[in-house]
């Protein structure tokens, strides 16, 4: 009797364990139609910029859905989805698959406005040094230069805290140029780490709004975010930021944060205009896609998505020139400012 009961107990446990997988329901089907519809539906529910960009997603998905059926090959599906999401013209929208990666490349059609860095190093920079995340030196005896190619840290956030050592080296400078041209972003916290060494007080620098339901236009209230001084010392002398079209995402947040300080001027070209906070999701076939889930606004509640942040002083480089006219303008601007 006792043995029977224990055996029944064991078998009941085994049975419950084996059927528990079904409690949450099966995974969605891995078919071309299912993969397409999951992606389309996710964008419909979450993508925040449809209204702002005047995009009718229902119509687009209706058109592209017709191209997908059970016989659609992976290559064809990749093409259809890439074409569909290209309509969003958004740097935070990507599709990663074994067949390739689709991302919006419009920024690369604009004038680059950033010469090869080795040219800057050779023609303009003295005493060049490099740390994990920065290349820095002097442009002359009065103006320092910091190049930040990206705000990605790859799990080494400490790299950006080395800004304190950089500023220690440049402490005798009367002004600094921060070059973030071609900086495509990275972790927002890293942009804030650097910006916090250039501002004098706690300032509101950006607002966020989040989708709170799948309904169109259903967003959270404006949620303010702040930047405050940090680090071993704060550089409060004139600063120029150099920007171009390939400067977007966290790099644009960096500009928002830096612009809360009155001694910061942006020179160069308009930025890329990529204002959402993105995340990656996945499809049953293993492909991954990225989409933004929130809208960011500057302190005046202006959203620059798709438009980009205009510089204070617009300067364009001739792409064939061996001179960096944007950097030269920054040197000229700061030299005059220092002498005042």
């Amino acid at each position: 009797m006792k043995k029977c009961l224990i055996a029944a107990l064991f078998l009941t446990s085994l049975f419950l364990c084996s059927c528990s997988e079904n409690i949450l329901g099966p995974d969605p089907a891995n078919t071309p139609e299912s993969n397409f519809e999951i992606l389309a539906s996710d964008f419909q529910n979450v993508y925040p910029f449809f209204e702002k960009k005047g995009i009718n997603w229902d119509s687009l998905t209706y058109v592209y859905r017709k191209e997908v059926n059970s016989k659609t090959t992976e290559k064809e599906l990749y093409g259809v989805i890439s074409n569909l999401i290209s309509n969003l013209k958004d740097g935070h929208v990507r599709l990663d698959s074994p067949l390739g990666q689709f991302h919006y490349e419009e920024y690369f059609r604009y004038s680059h406005n950033f010469p090869d860095f080795s040219m800057i190093q050779a023609n303009y920079l003295k005493d060049t040094k490099a740390s994990l995340k920065f290349v820095y030196g002097r442009l002359n005896d009065q103006i320092g230069y910091i190049y930040i190619p990206v705000f990605e840290s790859n799990q080494n956030e400490e790299g950006f805290k080395q800004i304190d050592n950089v500023l220690k080296t440049l402490k005798d400078m009367k002004a600094i140029v921060i070059d973030i041209r071609d900086n495509y972003g990275g972790e927002l916290e890293n942009a804030k780490t650097v910006a916090s060494r250039f501002i004098g007080s706690r300032n509101l620098y950006v607002y966020s709004r989040w989708k709170i339901s799948s309904k169109k236009g259903d967003f959270s209230d404006f949620s303010p975010e702040y930047i405050e001084p940090a680090g071993e010392s704060v550089f409060r002398k004139p600063v120029v930021i150099l920007s171009n079209r390939r400067c977007y995402s966290s790099a644009e947040h960096f500009i928002f944060a830096m612009k809360t300080s009155s001694n910061v001027t942006v020179i160069g070209d308009t930025t890329g205009g990529v204002m959402g906070i993105p995340v990656y999701r996945e499809l049953p076939n293993g492909w991954k896609y990225m989409l933004p889930r929130s809208m960011q606004y500057d302190k005046n509640k202006v959203c620059y998505e798709g438009k980009g942040i205009p510089p204070d002083i617009t300067v364009s480089n001739s792409d064939n020139s061996m001179r960096d006219l944007i950097l030269e303008k920054a040197i000229d601007f700061l030299t005059r400012k220092i002498s005042l």
Binding site: L5, W210, S214, E225, Y280, S294
Partner: protein, 276 residues
């Protein structure tokens, strides 16, 4: 850009807070009962494995599954007409999906149940109890879908009041089989907003999770929070004060809004029970 990932320190802090709550409740319930009758209390420490399935639509439509090492503490007071049972279990695991992506799941389950004797059957060998229980589940996930930094962190917390039924079958003078079932009646849940929590809210959650939980959580009926907790255990008394318990537990819950998530946990534990 990325969210701050809910930190390991935070998980340790949460676990210690829950453990403190457990010890406090244990002391509060044990002291009045001590001295009433010997061997009516037992406390057990268990180690085991847990097979988990979870799906969180805030991050992925795919189900993630895998095994987790589980640590469990259990206290039980057995009165002539009632039972008090306190239970804490926790674990961390790396789960995988059919897409080959992974996620890290941290999981804490704390429960207290009171049962009152209802009836006995089969020559008083089978005792049936019914009562109410409180159960708190905390589940935190960090998805590893992208190689870079744009992965989703998601979490949910739920405290539920549940209807509890317990049956104990004596199969020898000192051995017994126990079957327990909890079914939630209502819950208080904390779940990320439709997309994700805004960054400043994640910071608030990390800094003061209990205050944040009670400030931002919402009551949910069974239409938004459903679940079941079922366990089967076999206790074998080895010595006067020592017993061994083999425990199988099936627990699941689902939260439907604002984005659906659910978790199914099958655990098998071996517990060392101290009777006093």
């Amino acid at each position: 850009m990325r969210f701050r990932v809910i930190s390991e320190q935070f998980m340790i802090k949460s676990f210690l807070a829950l453990l403190q709550a457990f010890v406090l409740i244990l002391i509060m319930t044990t002291i009045p009962l001590l001295g009433q009758n010997a061997k009516k209390n037992n406390i057990s420490l268990g180690l085991g494995r847990q097979l988990l399935y979870t799906r969180d639509m805030a991050a992925s439509p795919m189900m993630y599954s895998g095994y987790q090492d589980l640590f469990q503490i259990n206290y039980c007071y057995s009165g002539s007409t009632n039972r008090h049972i306190l239970d804490v279990s926790a674990g961390r695991s790396l789960l995988g999906a059919s897409t080959k992506n992974t996620m890290t799941l941290d999981y804490i389950n704390l429960s207290y149940s009171y049962y009152h004797f209802v009836t006995s059957l089969i020559d008083e060998k089978l005792s049936i109890f019914a009562g109410l229980g409180l159960n708190h589940i905390s589940s935190e996930k960090q998805f590893n879908i992208a190689e870079g930094f744009m992965n989703i962190g998601s979490f949910d917390e739920a405290t539920n009041l549940n209807l509890s039924i317990l049956s104990e079958l004596k199969i020898a003078s000192k051995d017994k089989i126990t079957l327990g079932i909890h079914s939630p009646l209502m819950a208080y849940i904390l779940r990320p907003d439709y997309s994700l929590f805004p960054r400043d809210n994640i910071s608030k959650y990390e800094d003061a999770p209990i205050r944040y939980y009670f400030g931002e959580g919402k009551f949910a009926s069974v239409s938004n929070f459903s679940g079941l907790n079922l366990w089967l255990s076999y206790d074998k008394t080895l010595f006067q004060s020592i017993a061994l318990r083999v425990n199988y537990n099936l627990m699941y819950y689902k939260i439907k809004k604002p984005t659906q998530t659910g978790l199914v946990a099958n655990s098998l534990n071996l517990n060392f029970v101290y009777l006093f």
